[in-house]
Amino acid sequence: MAEKTYRDAIRDAMMEEMDRDANVLIMGEDIGVYEGTFRITAGMLKKYGPKRVIDTPIAEAGMAGTAVGMAMLGLRPIVEMMTMNFAIVAADQILNHAAKVRYFSGGQVDVPMVIRGPQGAGVQLSAQHSQTFESFYAHFPGLKVVAPATPADAKGLLKTSIRGRDPVIFLESAALYGMKGEVPDDADFTVPFGVSRIAREGSDVTIVSYSRMLQMSLIAAEKLAEEGIECEVIDLRTLRPLDLEPAYASVTKTHRCVVVQEQWKPFGAAAEIAASITENVFDELDAPVARVTGEDVPMPYARNLELLATPHEQHVIAAVKKVMYANG
């Protein structure tokens, strides 16, 4: 075990896998000479050279599409999107090609590739640079969608992504890059997909989340504990595959549930999570599953408006009290 930042955990995962397997390479904009806008790839060009650390032109569709071709021929490309907002430009290559080629080829090819990069609200990045995409990708069969909340999971899930045989959308939270946590040193430490974890035990209300909102939910849970409300907090880790068994079990115990996401509410990830929980443990619910989400607006630039647009601890606290009918 060692204390690592989420950022370093991601870099370690990539470098360990590149050391382990010559078929692993990384490409992206300004990841080499510039060493990455978030410095995730610092030092990698020097260590692995331009054949394995490829600075690309500004061409997200080109990056994603060439990665699909590389993967079909047995390489394991990692594509760094400077931010996931730019991956929308590559939507066709990801959704119509990466996600489907195994299927329409009748299983003749593997597509072992990872598209990773930061997403979510930063500080005043405004409407085109503040979005989250988990529901956007998780709707499509053929993809795997990962959203780690801790440095350990960032490392373990990324290693699983790189070692796999399918296209993985690895959604990082820029706001968590500096976050520190214990990370196993074992070079073969991996975290499997589709295995949610109980991040905090509790008996009163179940909170289901992932990525940065999971961390925010834990803070809210601590504050609620001071008021004597014990929340069980579940970290989904991956959205596709989606493991809700621990959530079902938890709700069977707490009978109350709040789902927390940064995304816009309509047609966001929390809708699927809430709908599935309701379908599966309806009779256990003493209150409808509540959703805490970002406001349904393009992200404004002004800091005061941005703060109004994003979810905060107090929203989680209010939602927990609401499902406990303990408001006001």
């Binding site: 078929n23 390479l25 331009p50 054949k51 690309t56 032109p57 061409a59 569709a61 080109g62 994603a64 599409g65 060439t66 990665a67 699909v68 071709g69 590389m70 993967a71 079909m72 021929l73 047995g74 390489l75 490309p77 066709d92 290559q93 119509n96 090609h97 080629v101 195994r102 299927y103 329409f104 080829s105 009748g106 299983g107 003749q108 090819v109 593997d110 072992p112 069969p141 053929g142 795997k144 796999g164 045989r165 399918d166």
Partner: protein, 347 residues
């Protein structure tokens, strides 16, 4: 075209013109033509579903290039892909079974006409989004060189595909990677004059398509796509060069599609019957056949023998497809992600 013609004769040794290989190429082109005619019949009978895009008239572009390739080379193309599969060596009956949506099809019946795949023969598909496969092909070429192989990638696309963004991004990246010898790829523009119903003049600001490719620092030349001697001549030279240098190259094959864009394109309001007739005079099969007749004494009986063989082959393919079972219901859930499929080592 003059220029292209010269090149052709310049690059083909007259002595070689009668090598038995040329008769094989004629066989292949006739087989492809018969195959496509059969697909159109079976589509009308309702045996083939979805979209069907046939290659009749363009055979020399597939056969002239693909016969110049080596085992291990790989190919990507769009949805007009039957000829490429057959030229690469896929069994016609398994291609036909794919079009019939049968479990014996080369993509297990899951891809259909637009998504033929036969990795064993180097065929990496078979794509339905115009231009979408170009970036895949460029990446695949990088992978071939990354593993220090001598293999090259070939990527076919139509004139209309040149207007979409992924064409641009693929070309620029191929041009860049080529500088360090990391992109051994041959791009083939199948310029049949139309994108569905839109002529090159109406879809491309600059109608000299090879000129457009120069914007990516990729050498390009035009060739008469109806003359398989010309196509093959250029291919022999260019394929060697790509293999040696690891740099991309582009060939613009000027050709023509005899049938409609797809099986649904009956009216063809964008061109006259007369225009089609004119082009039928330059049928690539007729051109090769006459050439072999004049220079090598190929007789009508020889040709008849080939045609009978091709018809039998295709009839057998149709029968095989007809008699093959539908895919098992479990196939619905296979091949979505790795767990669902048989484990396979990456090459």
């Amino acid at each position: 075209m003059a220029k292209a013609k010269e090149q052709a004769s310049a690059t083909i040794d007259p002595a070689a013109a009668c090598a038995p290989e040329w008769t094989d190429i004629l066989r292949q082109m006739i087989l492809i033509r018969r195959f496509e005619e059969a697909t159109e019949r079976e589509f009308r009978k309702g045996k083939i579903g979805g979209y069907l895009h046939v290659y009749s008239g363009q055979e020399a572009v597939a056969s002239g290039i693909i016969t110049a390739l080596q085992k291990g080379d790989i190919l990507f193309t769009g949805y007009r892909d039957h000829a490429h599969a057959i030229a690469l060596g896929s069994e016609p009956r398994r291609v036909m079974a794919e079009l019939f949506g049968k479990g014996t099809g080369i993509s297990k019946g899951k891809g259909g006409s637009m998504h033929l795949f036969d990795v064993e023969h180097g065929f990496y598909g078979g794509y339905g989004i115009v231009g979408g496969h170009l970036t895949l092909a460029a990446g695949a070429a990088y992978a071939l060189r990354y593993r220090d192989t001598e293999r090259i990638a070939v990527c076919y696309f139509g004139d209309g595909a040149m207007n979409i963004g992924s064409f641009h991004e693929a070309m620029n990246m191929a041009g860049l990677w080529g500088k360090s010898g990391m992109c051994p790829i041959l791009f083939i523009i199948e310029n049949n004059g139309y994108a569905m119903g839109t002529s090159v003049e109406r879809h491309s600001a600059l109608t000299d398509l090879s000129q457009r490719v120069r914007a990516y620092n990729i050498p390009t030349e035009k060739v008469d796509g109806q003359d398989v001697f010309a196509v093959r001549g250029v291919a022999d030279r260019v394929v060697r060069q790509i293999r040696d240098t690891g740099k991309p190259y582009c060939i613009e094959a000027i050709t023509y599609r005899f049938s409609g864009h797809g099986a649904a394109d009956i009216l063809q309001p964008y061109r006259t019957k007369d225009e089609v007739e004119q082009h039928r005079h330059r049928d690539p099969i007729g051109i090769l056949r006459n050439r072999l007749g004049e220079i090598c004494g190929l007789t009508d009986d020889d040709v008849k023998e080939i045609e009978d063989w091709a018809s039998k082959e295709v009839a057998a393919a149709v029968q095989f497809a007809e008699e093959s079972p539908q895919p098992d219901a479990e196939e619905l859930w296979r091949d979505i992600v790795a767990e669902h499929g048989p484990t396979r080592e990456n090459e």
